[in-house]
Symmetry: C2
Subunit: 334 residues, 2 copies
Amino acid sequence: MRTLRFDETTLELVAINQTKLPLETEYIRISESRVLYQAIKELAIRGAPAIGVGAALGLYACALRFEDKAPEGFLYSFDKTVEYIASSRPTARNLFYACGRMSAASRQGTSIEDIKESLKNEAFSIEKEDIELCRAIGKNGEKLIRDGAAILTHCNAGALCAVEYGTALAPIYEAKAKGKAVYVYADETRPLLQGARLTCFELTEAGIDTTLICDNMAAGLMAKGKIDLVIVGCDRVAANGDFANKTGTLSLAVNARHFGVPFYVAVPSSTVDLSALTGDDIVIEERDGAEITEKFFKNPIAPESVKTYNPAFDVTPGSLVTGYITEKGVFKSI
Amino acid sequence: MRTLRFDETTLELVAINQTKLPLETEYIRISESRVLYQAIKELAIRGAPAIGVGAALGLYACALRFEDKAPEGFLYSFDKTVEYIASSRPTARNLFYACGRMSAASRQGTSIEDIKESLKNEAFSIEKEDIELCRAIGKNGEKLIRDGAAILTHCNAGALCAVEYGTALAPIYEAKAKGKAVYVYADETRPLLQGARLTCFELTEAGIDTTLICDNMAAGLMAKGKIDLVIVGCDRVAANGDFANKTGTLSLAVNARHFGVPFYVAVPSSTVDLSALTGDDIVIEERDGAEITEKFFKNPIAPESVKTYNPAFDVTPGSLVTGYITEKGVFKSI
């Protein structure tokens, strides 16, 4: 299983359809802008790094099929396609970054063949950089995992949000590759259940011993001494080390501190946002309450008149973090 | 809305059908042993105190309809009915307690009319004792709630598990009755969602401002200073004050301590079990993982091959409890 790959025989982007997980493992083959747009918009390709790489490889696959005979026409078609793909998700930074790099690459070369070569190189570079970044996080984090360790994780910061490995799960994959026994407890991660749907899927596919729990059961496991360490991903780190991640991360960090369990954050160094001095500067998105009361359920689980509060993220103070696992090493503070 | 009541006009037990909540508010009228048995067995009547009172009032309603003309025949019918109703749930202590008291009451009096009178008095006493116990917990706990307070609760320890008021929610009802503004945050309480389904239902029906959150969001609210106090119910207290309650309670208690939020346990003094010296002596029931992965959902939320861990309760150390709210007063320790 690989989240994304470029099929060099058919010259298509092949992506796992994450909207069908965990019920079905379906791959989408992409060589047309409309299909790429829909795949990103409808979350078949999701997770910031995966979206960036998917856009780059997908744009290259589309460009290979342009019927323009002159470089001017080819570039016009490419610019239009980039603009269209960049509009598929409004706030995905990696999407704009990848589209920008592919646009710049399209200006390298005078013949259509040269331009295609430049696009290929750039798309493959973006893919390779993502894989190397995640692998470096994996290698650095692996040293923290003893043979036989039980690791608790939250949400999905795994291979499914990148090309391979992911961030929080990369050290676990690396430990397994090194022959260590690893046991993972995966929080289901309400309300959107990314832990149950995605983390449990990719870890069991990889043959890793995985146990699903409800988010509220993590404390009980820590109290019993069943958790050796916690590793979570991260959406944004402030200058003082406070960080935002999927709602529920703060509760885990507080419990980990109380029960003396090491708590690590896996984070590409590019995720540090020095414009945010502390966690207070990180604005938290509040989402529709129907995600709590209706989505996934046969029937609404609460009376219609009840209010809801549905923050997508919470902020964990840096003081609760044992270490930040980055591609450059593991650091006690940011 | 009242969970249970005896209709003195039709001489029936009237119980809210909790299996239909929150989608439908349906009342079941009970005057026949088969209907009473099914109502308890299939959780239309649930919650230990409610089961006890429901059995007592229901047995009385059934007895009123016996066609026996001689006291011996009447008692034979009553004993058979008690035996049948007592078999509806295997481990409900309140059920056996109520059945035992009704059996003893049936031996008071010589004529059928006298026996019916004795059964009526006993059933109404059991109901009255439950109401008074919950009301006393409410009055004692109300003093802890300032005007305008925001209270976090977990699972359902409210009117729906008793006749009126319940335990953890009784102080909230009492505060509202005294004219205080109260705001409740209700944990949804995975996996069985008693908070979303039952607590949100009864609080909104009572006109109390209620906001539903996922269990993992409580820490974020505490960090923002949005929670004034936590009140939870309790299934069993050990001699040293450790207590078992619905899974997720421990995490709340740890977070409450971390963020300096007072944490109270509402508990009838009969719930203290001196045979358990500490929480370690309380055996925790592990339930079917399908409650996490399938129940309530349109489709399974996790891959079939994943393992699950589904403890119904967790144990919170007494050291994390600010006070125990009992019918006899609020105590710092048990």
